[in-house]
């Protein structure tokens, strides 16, 4: 956090959480926070440029076991992004799986100041935190995977929602995590035997269905005042015809009352879950059906998982999905199943404009953004690096803002885009306010971080600001893309970290974690069962499991009390 005062004047501000839509407005900063007024500030003259709160990424894989396994497996990707150290910056490498330093610098250059690591295997949580320490500038958090866990499935089966809630509380505290992440519930456990599950299949040996797991976890999560709902990567990701499973998954949590006015489920990387057809040959977009569902319902929020064309590294806790993908491509494949908890798979993938399926996938992400009417229901992501690296966000922004750009891109793509996707027929164009919603406001609100200073510029907010080198009148898609790739200024906690697209300071970020508060008696009852699991089945001891404080040098705690009602 920077001491002293800063004044950003003559900027055109887009701060959707506070209803500020392109107003010429000064922003006053003192001691790392936005304040009412300043007396003797350093002045930045924005000269009519676009000003937004620091970007908030709700879902990206930036740190931890599988990200590093991706780096290890792909020296060819690392070599793509090498940049020498500077007086401020450590040496950089990587394109789709950049090293930790490059991750911090490149997000900051795009005006982002918070990123959520989307999947933390609980047993490997220390690893995630160790890498997050080495990601400069960005504030961060990570979501532990709590869905394929034996404890979860046993409590879902017995119907002990309170004990499940106690388990969730212990897990989030032990991993210094943020919320409940679900990835192919039941399917990843089945993958321990080389199998997979759909939403209503019975998980081998555990006698529960993925639908029951999702419902149980949603109910247990809402026992606390959790800032974020369950965060769900559903079953059958990436399979043709999965859109029905997707909507059935959304239906599972319908009727569960969230603790405040937010959805009960965040459905992530929805592009991968909006597929029609019965096989790759008749594969088609069902973004329209998914958008229709989201338009009519308020219990689900989504993020896009929009495709960036080119080579990338796919990685997910959905082990069976990565195996299927590797079966298709025949490229290298890493898998890492984690005892009693989860799994993961990693394989490189090339999204090609010449391939019909990839072209339709590319269209689907953008169709979702354009067909869902209210931008307050979605966040921009590429599920980095699965549908493409985060460095491609400006490409998506330029497409959403320009029908002309979309038409030009479609021209050079596989013709399938014209008969098996809707995108070419959609005229809607995003404005800057809508872009600000899907890249900061909505992500912060969905995560509940707007109450902790993220995603807006109201008095008391963190002084995280992005000044883009463009005026609100800019219509040229190329210029828009350029502006969103490298800011004129990025300010993090009141400190200028990027100037004219160059990183000029790289302070450490904070790690935000949630502490769900649970009744001692309930916790003790749950711990009897959990300790038995450690004694008999884990390969580490109960006492060596929780993440030590040493792994969070800059912690920020959010308490989530048990709901009284």
């Amino acid at each position: 956090m920077a001491d002293g005062e800063l004044l950003i004047k003559n900027g055109v501000v887009y701060d959707p959480i506070n209803g500020v839509n392109g107003e010429k407005k000064d922003i006053c900063i003192r001691d790392g926070k936005v304040v009412e007024s300043v007396t003797n500030p350093k002045v930045i003259d924005a000269e009519g440029r676009v000003v937004m709160p620091g970007g908030v990424d709700i879902h990206a894989h930036i740190a931890g076991a599988k990200v590093n396994a991706g780096r290890t497996m792909r020296p060819e990707d690392e070599r793509k992004g090498v940049e020498a150290k500077t007086k401020v910056c450590r040496a950089q490498s990587g394109y789709s799986v950049p090293n930790t330093f490059a991750t911090g610098y490149r997000y900051a250059r795009m005006g982002y100041t918070f990123v959520m690591e989307a999947a933390m295997p609980p047993l490997l949580a220390r690893h995630t935190h160790e890498e997050m320490i080495d990601i400069p500038i960005l504030d961060n958090a990570a979501m532990p995977l709590i869905d394929n866990n034996w404890m979860t499935m046993e409590y879902v089966k017995s119907g002990d929602t309170d004990l499940l809630a106690a388990y969730i509380a212990w897990m989030i505290k032990a991993t210094k995590g943020y919320g409940v992440k679900v990835v192919n519930p039941g399917g990843t456990e089945a993958w321990g035997w080389g199998k997979n599950c759909n939403l209503n299949d019975t998980v081998p040996y555990f006698d529960v269905t993925p639908a029951e797991i999702i419902k149980g976890l949603a109910e247990a999560t809402e026992k606390f005042e959790m800032p974020h709902s369950i965060h769900v990567h559903g079953n059958m990701l990436g399979h043709p015809g999965n859109f029905e499973t997707t909507m059935d998954t959304y239906d599972v949590v319908k009727g569960i009352k969230p603790y405040r006015d937010r959805p009960t489920m965040h459905a992530t990387h929805t592009q991968f879950h909006s597929y029609g057809g019965t096989r790759w040959g008749d594969f088609e977009s069902k973004a329209g059906a998914i958008a229709d569902y989201v338009n009519k319902n308020n219990h689900v929020s989504i993020d896009l998982g929009s495709v960036i064309l080119g080579d990338t590294t796919t990685m997910t806790a959905d082990g069976p999905m990565e195996y299927s993908l590797y079966q298709i491509t025949g490229r290298k494949w890493t898998n890492h199943d984690v005892e009693l908890e989860t799994g993961s798979g990693i394989t490189p993938f090339l999204y090609s404009a010449k391939v019909s399926v990839h072209t339709i996938q590319w269209a689907i992400g953008q169709e979702l953004a354009l067909l869902i009417k209210d931008p307050w229901k979605l966040c921009l992501t590429t599920d980095h690096p699965n549908a493409g690296p985060f460095i491609g966000y400006p490409i998506i922004i330029s497409h959403l803002m320009s029908k002309k750009r979309r038409d030009e891109s479609a021209e050079s793509m596989h013709k399938a885009i014209f008969d098996r996707a809707e995108l070419p027929s959609i005229d809607r164009e995003y404005d800057l306010n809508e872009i600000a919603i899907i890249t900061r406001g909505m992500a912060a609100k969905t995560l509940g971080l707007h109450e902790h200073g993220k995603g807006h510029l109201g008095v008391g907010a963190d002084a995280d600001v992005a000044i883009y080198d463009m005026t609100p009148e800019e219509r040229d898609a190329g210029n828009i893309q350029k502006a969103f790739l490298n800011t004129k200024y990025t300010i993090k906690s009141g400190e200028i970290v990027v100037k004219d697209g160059e990183v000029v300071a790289a302070p450490p970020g904070r790690t935000i974690f949630v502490t769900p508060e649970c009744d001692d008696k309930l916790m003790d009852e749950m711990l009897v069962t959990l300790k038995d699991k450690f004694d008999k089945y884990y390969s580490v001891t109960f006492n060596n499991y929780p993440v030590q404080d040493a792994y969070l040098p800059n912690p920020y705690e959010i308490k989530a009390p048990w709901r009284s009602s």
């Binding site: 590093n68 780096r71 090498v82 047993l123 080389g194 290298k332 890493t334 898998n335 005892e339 089945y537």
Partner: protein, 435 residues
């Protein structure tokens, strides 16, 4: 007397974390349970390097920490191509400092994987690694293969805690419900326990993997009567056991990484694992040696993008094992100074590399004297990680654990701090130059 539980062992890649010791007068007096004999010996302590020292006229002369650290910094500062090698028997915190130091002075940073499982990493870069955590094996595996590795002697707790002899959820009968296959060039202690012992001719592992893989792929008819010294009937038996397994595991060691086809052996081992997937669940894991050899590879990879043998002389990371690996650099006479930490190239490097290492100014950081001490020019003793200092390590299956500090030391300094202080001195020297 105080009993300390959940002690995490800092010896081999098993990183056993259920050890109970007794501490009296700031000394480990008894290891009550959990540790193997080698781990126990380390916990109980043995001869240490007594003091920092600098070599003068061929003799090591004792000195203060400050003097030794200053001298080390001078060597690194003057060097045009320093090698910073070792890093596997220390904690990740020290490794992070080490990579940063190497980047700052434009050195080459490399760990012992370079001469151990380096070929395994090359294989992973070729085909990936279908693996899992050790608890997954404990709970599920019904067929275990140790190939070119002898855990009964080299990883003494491995079978008991994690594999053949352990009991888990679907393996409640322990070894009764499992099968063990050992492939090796001689009948090791592990081989004596096996249901099937496959004695392969030295250097013929690649051919044997190929034969089994061919059988798993359904082409047994093209396999000759004998491959790599192994009769076809026995290969068919192995293949049929693999087909029947619900959850199979291949652990492989130095016996495969450094013989015959080297990294191609491992590529073939991984392809065999993939072929196993046609029938059941199959996984594979390198038997990593040092307790944190895995951890250095993790740290180096997230910091530079590459797991070992990283040349930072260009300002950006350059990785090309064979060119940038320690033994090759030294054998070519490329380096003009070396810092050796938490390892012993003196005992393990080939002659040509050692001859050059002995010629150039060499700094050693280690709790214990070893053959490297015999030619080191600056010797800096370190606190013992996991006994006198805490820190993060990665088990052979990439599970991160935190070593505990069980006793105090009022003299020895942890590796992390030594590296940090050397780096601070290097910066100070550069600052002076700038003036």
């Amino acid at each position: 007397m105080v009993e300390v539980t959940d002690v995490v062992c800092s010896l081999c890649g098993c990183v056993c974390d259920n050890i109970v010791v007794e501490v009296e007068d700031n000394k480990v007096v008894k290891v009550k349970r959990g540790a193997c004999s080698v781990g126990k010996s380390k916990l109980l302590g043995h001869e240490r390097i007594k003091s920092p020292a600098i070599r003068e006229n061929g003799e090591l002369k004792e000195c203060s920490y400050d003097e030794a650290i200053k001298k080390a910094a001078e060597i690194l500062y003057k060097s045009r191509r320093p090698l910073l090698y070792g890093w596997s028997s220390t904690v990740c915190e020290a490794d992070r400092e080490g990579v940063e130091l190497a980047e700052d002075i434009g050195g080459v940073v490399d760990n012992t994987a370079s001469v151990c499982h380096g070929p395994s990493v090359l294989a992973i870069q070729d085909v990936g690694l279908p693996g899992c955590t050790l608890g997954q094996i404990k709970n599920r595996a019904d067929l275990i293969i140790y190939w070119g590795s002898n855990p009964a002697q080299a990883h003494a707790n491995h079978m008991k805690r994690y594999s053949y002899v352990s009991k888990g959820y679907w393996t409640s009968e322990g070894k009764k419900g499992k099968k063990l296959i050992v492939v090796d060039v001689r009948k090791t202690m592990t081989a004596k326990m096996a249901d099937v012992f496959v004695q392969v001719k030295q250097g013929k592992d690649f051919q044997v993997f190929s034969a089994i893989r061919t059988m798993l792929r359904g082409h047994e008819d093209v396999v000759p009567d004998e491959v790599g010294g192994v009769p076809k009937e026995q290969l068919l038996e192995v293949a049929s056991m693999m087909k029947e397994a619900k959850f199979g595991m291949i652990f492989f060691g130095m016996g495969v990484t450094h013989t015959g086809a080297r990294h191609n052996n491992i590529v073939n081992a991984i392809q065999t694992t993939r072929a196993g997937h046609l029938y059941g669940k199959w996984t594979i894991m390198p038997m990593r040696g040092h307790y944190n050899v895995t951890g250095f590879n993790q740290v180096c990879c997230w910091q530079t993008g590459f797991p070992y043998s990283v040349d930072l002389s260009r300002g950006y990371p350059w990785y090309n094992p064979g060119e940038t690996s320690s033994t090759d650099l030294l054998a070519r006479g490329d380096c003009d100074a070396a810092m050796i930490i938490a390892s012993d190239p003196g005992a393990h490097f080939p002659g040509a590399a050692l001859r050059h290492l002995a010629k150039i100014p060499t700094i050693q950081i280690d709790p214990f004297a070893n053959p490297t001490t015999e030619f080191a020019d600056v010797v800096i003793p370190a606190a013992i990680s996991g006994i006198e200092s805490a820190g993060g390590v990665y088990r052979m299956d990439n599970v991160p654990l935190r070593l505990r500090k069980i006793i105090e030391t009022d003299y020895y300094i942890p590796d992390e701090e030594i590296v940090k202080r050397i780096h601070a001195e290097v910066r100070a020297l550069r600052g002076k130059e700038g003036e």
